[in-house]
């Protein structure tokens, strides 16, 4: 015999775990995206990183989300993917 029948309150969608891309062995010849997500003082971190990358001869480009409270706009993600090969994100305050 079976018991009570309930209904699933979830979206009934399974999540698929995808492996991360392997990090590049070297940054030479690559363009690194520096993404400021809009949290306070993120720009200070990006400023320092930009200087350090330049000292090592690595090209970087800066990007900024409109606000940290939202996911990045699709066009921003597409630009980063098209223009750079690696990304550093200034996540926190």
């Amino acid at each position: 015999m079976s018991g009570i029948r309930l209904r699933d309150p979830t979206s009934e969608t399974g999540s698929q775990r995808r492996a991360r891309l392997a990090p590049p062995s070297s940054l030479q010849g690559l363009t690194v995206a520096l993404l400021d997500i809009g949290k306070p003082r993120g720009s200070e971190y990006i400023d320092r990183l930009e200087i350090r990358l330049r000292e090592h001869g690595v090209t970087s480009k800066r990007y900024r989300k409109p606000t940290n409270t939202r996911v990045a706009p699709t066009d921003l993600l597409q630009r980063i993917a098209a223009e750079t090969q690696a990304v550093v994100i200034a996540l926190s305050d």
């Binding site: 979206s11 409109p66 606000t67 409270t69």
Partner: protein, 497 residues
């Protein structure tokens, strides 16, 4: 007959067991012993039986009516299949199909259905029947679930015979940590009665997984949260408000800050469903206050996949993230309710969702003028977030009746109170600059010569609530994410049906 899948269609029914199939040509009567009219017509049933096959289904007493070999229908399966609403119900079948029906006792009607004359001599010409047990409150939905097709499309999870259904919900991760009402078909069907919207209507994509969410899924979660069906339109409006891009539900969920959605309800619906805006309005004891906010959070958790420790990264959180909802006190006609101040027409109901946490009390028993009280409230409001964090967070000030009376008696309305508080909340930059007093937190020292507002214009919302006694008010602090109000701000949504 009402079904979940389509309210305008009959519920497809499971086939009748052969033993209870009504006669292809003859009569069927539904009755219950507890019905005086059913007892009245017992002699008439004997007359009907002499003219053709008669099957009497008894809803309560398998021996009633005596001598007519009644069929026990206490499970109400046949009553449901024949859509009986009143007892007695007399149905005539011809060629296996229903061709005539009447309810109660009405001699002329019984004679029309049976084609016989002189039925029930000595009885009154008319006596109304009683309600069918299959239509007792809550029973019909249970019968749909048991004998019909409930039309619910969400995945069925059938538990082991010996399983504890409450524990099963915990085990599957469906709970916010408190027990939930197990979402059975009958409960979901009852919940769906609370709205005119179709169960398959898509309300939106719930963050963080942006999972498509139907009215049915919201109803399931409202059941689990403990809502009554009449709360469902409020829950639906709250979900819609949370999905407005400027509410930024995803960000509010994943923030390390304390905040979560806080729901303020306005309008006639608050009285209709018995919400509490008075004594202990923010506390325990009122089902609507406590379950509507919980239902929204259950939707975010279960449909959206937003769970603490995963996407929800709150350092502390706060108890209101289980759900926090209360109505505004609209008893004073001089007061413009929050919803009207945010564009909702008078007489309509609405929810306003804030990104907030709290509660911080402001105890002031000595102010007697509006100017004094505004200055005093401002002192407490300065603590929102941090006394030196300005132009960043929003806040909600809950004015108690006694504090509000000080403003009202001096002729201060909502706009005047807001202006008074804005003025009182201008802070000398020199007092709140970084490093002052040995505290690094603060504003840019370049603003030392400015008067800096604690909140941006419109960043402080005022709501009336609370019991009649107590010269204190309450503050709900907001969320730093609202520092860009063009991107993130509270949302007001009208409540539908």
């Amino acid at each position: 007959m009402l079904g979940c899948g389509d309210r305008n269609q009959e519920v497809p029914m499971l086939p009748s067991p052969a033993a209870t199939v009504p006669p292809p040509d003859g009569y069927v009567v539904f009755a219950k012993h507890d019905c005086p009219t059913c007892q009245l017509v017992v002699p008439v049933l004997g007359e009907v039986a002499r003219h053709g096959p008669l099957v009497v289904y008894s809803q309560d007493d398998p021996a009633f009516p005596e001598g007519l070999a009644p069929v026990d229908d206490h499970a109400l399966a046949e009553s449901f299949r024949h859509d009986v609403e009143t007892v007695p119900t007399l149905i005539r079948f011809a060629g296996g199909k229903e061709v005539a029906r009447t309810v109660g006792w009405d001699r002329a009607e019984w004679e029309r259905v049976t084609g016989q004359s002189g039925l029930g001599a000595g009885l009154p010409a008319f006596q109304p029947g009683c309600g069918s047990k299959s239509r007792d409150p809550g029973v019909h939905e249970r019968l749909i679930a048991r004998f019909g097709n409930p039309g619910i499309v969400s995945r069925a999870v059938t538990l082991d015979e010996w399983a504890d259904e409450a524990e099963a919900c915990f085990d599957r991760g469906w709970s916010d940590g408190l027990p939930v009402i197990p979402p059975t078909d009958e409960r979901i069907l009852r919940m769906l009665q609370g709205t005119t919207r179709r169960p398959d209507e898509i309300v939106g994509d719930i963050p963080p997984n942006l999972a498509s969410c139907t009215v049915e899924k919201i109803a399931i979660n409202a059941v689990m949260a403990g809502c009554k069906p009449e709360y469902l339109p409020v829950v639906l409006a709250a979900v819609e408000a949370a999905l407005d891009p400027v509410f930024t539900m995803h960000g509010l969920l994943c923030t390390t800050c304390f905040s979560g959605p806080v729901i303020v309800v306005n309008g006639p619906v608050t009285r209709a469903i018995g919400m509490n805006s008075g004594i202990n309005a923010l506390g325990q004891g009122n089902r609507a206050n406590l379950t509507i906010g919980r239902a929204l959070q259950m939707v975010v958790r279960n449909v959206g996949g937003g769970k603490p420790g995963e996407i929800d990264r709150a350092t502390f959180g706060w108890p209101g993230k289980i759900g926090f909802c209360f109505p505004e006190d609209e008893s004073d006609r001089d007061w413009q309710p929050l919803a009207q101040s945010r564009g909702i027409p008078v007489g309509r109901s609405a929810v306003t969702l804030f990104q907030a946490y709290g509660v911080q009390g402001c105890i002031d028993q000595r102010s007697r003028t509006p100017e004094e009280l505004a200055r005093s409230l401002a002192m407490s409001l300065c603590a929102v977030g941090h006394p030196r964090i300005v132009e960043s967070m929003i806040a909600v000030l809950l004015l108690s009746p006694e504090h509000y009376a000080i403003f009202r008696d001096a002729g201060w309305d909502r706009a005047r109170i807001e202006d008074g508080l804005y003025e009182a909340l201008l802070r000398p930059g020199a007092d709140i600059a970084r490093g002052v007093g040995g505290v690094p937190e603060g504003v840019d020292p370049a603003r030392a010569g400015d008067l800096v507002p604690k909140f941006q214009r419109g960043g402080l919302s005022i709501v009336r609530a609370g019991g009649p006694a107590g010269l204190w008010s309450a503050i709900l602090s907001g969320w730093p994410g609202t520092r860009h109000p063009d991107q993130t701000r509270p949302v007001t949504t009208e409540i539908g049906t």
